[in-house]
Subunit: 218 residues, 2 copies
DNA sequence: TCAAAAGTGTTCTCTTTACACCCATGC
DNA sequence: GCATGGGTGTAAAGAGAACACTTTTGA
């Protein structure tokens, strides 16, 4: 199967890469795969792969993510395109990067998929990454923390079940933005920005007053 | 020259498109070219073209823009990648879109370049555009107006000479954001956000009090 | 002397920040 | 009963919006 795809004009290769974030144990994590093949064999990398013929790039990202990590049915946001000629030793590869936020337990993280291994890493304890993936990951984190209060976006709520408590929400906001907030001000602001509804139920959660359970309206 | 570029894997074609904005007569304009070839022959389009082998995508955008419109030495900002398989009738073409803001008189807008014709259009009086360029243009305008007060960006100042007056600045801000501002509040805010220095000179500009001339520091 | 646009300062409102006390639970 | 974290309101500060009068020029 050598050189069977031919064109009138030179075509650089195109890949998609997907930076997947989650919050576990109050800390921001990202999903990496260990590369099974050269280049950068055994090195950790952002999941991703080549765009197929006539494949929508958004769907390519979803497909590659599912193949390499088992993660499905999530909402991707486009980050940027990276096209330095030297970024891939195999030749000119342009990558279109995406990012997403998901619940950590959405993933069965099964072995036996294309990637040798897929694993959550704390954002503060990353291994050395393949290609320019350190730059991409850094840009993704910036984009993530900027869109937190965007009502059209609702990234954070992809981390939560339908019903949640305000302190729970605060944990996620703090992990995502790498900041801490005053409990009272956070509660006020969050109720102001997002349409939250008090379900009337309480969640007992330890040796202290139970917290109210809310849900997002529409 | 048929089918002489061959690869092991399918490679979609990659182009860059560049949305160039300016402000003339207090109105936002964009630079379009009239296509000389099919598809969409004679239709107006955003300038752009194919990425060459091993060509940095940012440099490709600059090159295509220079070839098609004569515009050089400007700062581009990446907007997004567009990759719907049906967006180009010739096949799967992924485009990486950029946008820029320049002085209207930076352009000699000479004929004899690759494009049949290049012309400024008022953003409110656009012709029908080729491909999905209406969507790209719309996204670019949104991105442009969002970055106006970003000190790391300084887009607006690309429209101005080194020295400028506050009322002049206000005209540009209003055209770019499609809003109007109170003169007094605008003056205060702008001096607050950007490091402006009063040069001590005045600009006489009609039958009224002359305005102070400022410059951006660093 | 008049019209046109530029310069400037104050008040009010709203948003954001800072901060303290009481409450329900599990051990 | 006590430690733990959750619930809430108020005062102060800062940012943004509203607003009016004086100044300089050219005709």
């Amino acid at each position: 199967m050598s050189k069977k795809y031919c064109y009138d004009y030179p075509h650089p290769a195109v890949t998609t890469d997907i930076v997947v974030f989650t919050v576990k144990d109050r800390e921001l994590h990202t999903l990496l795969i260990q590369r099974g093949i050269e280049p950068y064999k055994n090195c950790w990398a952002i999941p991703g792969g080549f765009v197929l013929e006539n494949e929508n790039i958004d769907l390519c990202a979803l497909r590659e993510l599912a193949e390499e990590t088992g993660v499905k049915n999530i909402k991707l946001r486009q980050l940027a395109a990276y096209g330095m000629p030297k970024r891939d030793p195999r030749g000119h590869v342009i990558t279109i990067a995406y990012y997403a936020l998901i619940k950590a337990d959405d993933i069965s993280m099964k072995h036996g998929s294309d990637a040798a291994d897929a694993k959550w890493f704390k954002i503060k304890e990353l291994p050395k990454l393949a290609f320019d993936h350190d730059i991409i990951l850094n840009d993704a984190q910036k984009a993530l923390s900027q869109g937190l209060y965007d009502l059209d976006n609702l990234t954070v709520f992809e981390l939560l079940e339908d019903k949640f408590t305000i302190p729970e929400l605060q944990i996620y906001f703090e992990a995502l933005s790498q900041k801490t907030f005053d409990r009272r001000n956070f509660s006020k602001k969050i109720k102001d920005v997002f349409p939250l509804q008090d379900t009337g139920d309480l969640r007992k959660n330890g040796p202290h007053r139970p917290s109210k359970i809310f849900q997002l309206v529409i």
